[in-house]
Symmetry: C2
Subunit: 338 residues, 2 copies
């Protein structure tokens, strides 16, 4: 059996910088036509100049001239002039908002949503999408649900602002999509596969530790139903987040799952398992292109139900990173990229 | 300020075997008058002979002739003759029941509670306490609450059987104590200190990963209220569970917190902080002695509010184990043991 996807997009991707960027960027650039690249470097990508420079490094590292690197700015209070300049900058996609301190390198994030409103109003007027890491500072399993009132408030106050709830992990967030037309969401591969039991039900699995943390089976099922059922406002975003192996297996292990090199084969396997291969194209490309009006370079990636051996780790440039499904054999692999 | 505790008891302790036993047993034997030693070795301690031999190794390793090693048998279907022999064996304390596969080395545990009833009936008749690791196989955060109906059923069916809910971690379990006079419970140090946010709210902390997993703040508060408030049917049981460092910091990290060497100072600090030093004696000794009718050797341990530097790890006999509060400075230390 074969599945071909046209212009697959990863709508939420961490590529880091430096040597790690050089190791991981080619993997995403090989399998995907484009990706939305997150700005949470140290320091964050919070100016048009920094974004342009980072885009140059991303494209150079990806070694794929056609790769459509959709760049994001880290949310801060921006002036109209800055936003206008961003809009005119090739590859600019949107602005990513992190509540302060909720995930890796988000210490500079937003502490007070009220102070964000003038910038959000400008973004609405200029048609710049807002991407949000939607978690509160509450109990780890409640953080996404506790943040939903903020989404409601933003969606109601800025009805023409396109708001993407990034990497949703709960049934409640899926349900919220029904309330506001201007909300959309990305869903990761790992939130379609895992619950908290996989992370810590038996032994503790640091390589499955991510934020938002995987939740209950009912949450996973709601996410699966949205993705496999062809919900038109959910999009694939891997949230693939490489950390050096030593930052994952230590006394204080960083949050993030590196899924980029297995994402498309694993998604094909999942959609095939559930008899939903006809919904894969929408999930990994068409929904995003329609929602954001993206014109993505042509690229066709073909997958076949043949074994793919996932390595224990990917190494290069002095880096070593452990992928999702490390050491496992997947049932699907990429056979052609044109 | 000084606090003296008489005959402190650790009512739930893992000492392991071999080199690890030799490393950790002296720490418990130094600070405590006695301890209930868990039987989940590989293979489990499931015969009177194995128990006698293990007790000999525990006493030899502890290097404290007065240490009161209260030994447990791993639950299986025992005959009346076996139970009578156990009862006559010096140092025998009770039988520990693990539902199959719920924690470290519990693969041989009970799969079907109905098959356990004849043995439980005999234990009730002979006055042998039942100690239970009360977790279901459900979602990791629900496991203790899902097991409570089993406690209810056992407590009602065997009204004269002394049933100890080990290492309780939820407000619901504390509440269940009110329903049945024949239920009692042990509470660990770490469940008085931690919630799931400490384990995985920020970075992942493998050394704080244990079973049952630490729960919500409301659960921690209910446990604290029971311990600090002088609840007469809760007892200190550290559940101190040493794992070699490499088994805690790897791709699949074992559950268990090694708290034995810091347990008494940290408890003194906690009870002093909450103005409840008058309740410490009951929690760490008197409740257990009264509930089980124990005659414990005299031992007085005196603690003072002076700094104690906790090492990053304890090493010896080729073993290396990381304690709770590794590298931290505690506010209390043991100043005398007589």
């Amino acid at each position: 059996m074969e599945i071909s996807v046209r212009a697959p997009l990863d709508m939420h991707l961490h590529l880091r910088d430096g040597e790690m960027l050089r190791l991981v960027a080619p993997m995403s650039a090989a399998d995907f036509a484009g990706a939305v690249v997150m700005p949470n470097l140290v320091p964050p990508v919070a100016s048009v100049e920094a974004m342009q420079e980072y885009r140059g490094r991303v494209l150079a590292a990806g070694k794929e001239p056609e790769f459509y690197a959709l760049m994001t700015l880290f949310f801060r209070e921006y002036t109209e002039e800055e936003l206008l300049r961003a809009k005119e900058t090739p590859g600019f996609f949107g602005i990513k908002l992190y509540p302060a301190g909720v995930t890796t390198n988000s210490e500079q994030g937003v502490g007070n949503m009220a102070s964000a409103e003038p910038t959000l109003r400008l973004m609405e007027q200029l048609g710049i999408p807002l991407l949000v890491h939607g978690e509160s500072h509450g109990f780890v399993l409640d953080r996404e649900e506790e943040f939903l009132p903020v989404y409601r408030s933003l969606a109601a106050k800025f009805p023409r602002l396109r708001i993407c709830m990034e990497h949703i992990s709960t049934a409640a967030a899926v349900k919220l999509l029904d309330e506001y037309e201007n909300l959309c969401a990305t869903i990761t591969l790992h939130h379609l596969l895992l619950t908290l039991d996989d992370v810590m039900g038996d032994k503790l699995r640091p390589h499955l530790f991510c934020k938002p943390i995987a939740k209950r089976e009912a949450d996973r099922e709601a996410l699966l139903t949205a993705a496999l059922g062809g919900h038109t406002r959910v999009m694939f975003g891997s949230d693939s987040a490489p950390h050096p192996r030593e930052a994952k297996e230590c006394c204080g292990c960083a949050a993030g799952i590196f899924s980029a090199p297995v994402a498309l084969p694993r998604l094909a396997q999942l959609f095939a398992l559930h008899g939903a291969v006809d919904k894969l194209q929408g999930f990994v490309s068409d929904n995003a292109r329609r929602i954001y009006g993206l014109h993505v370079p042509e690229k066709k990636v073909t997958l076949r139900d043949e074994p793919m051996q996932v390595p224990e780790s990917y190494r290069g440039f002095g880096q070593k990173v452990v992928p999702l499904d490390a050491g496992e054999e997947l049932g699907w692999r990429v056979v052609e990229r044109i």
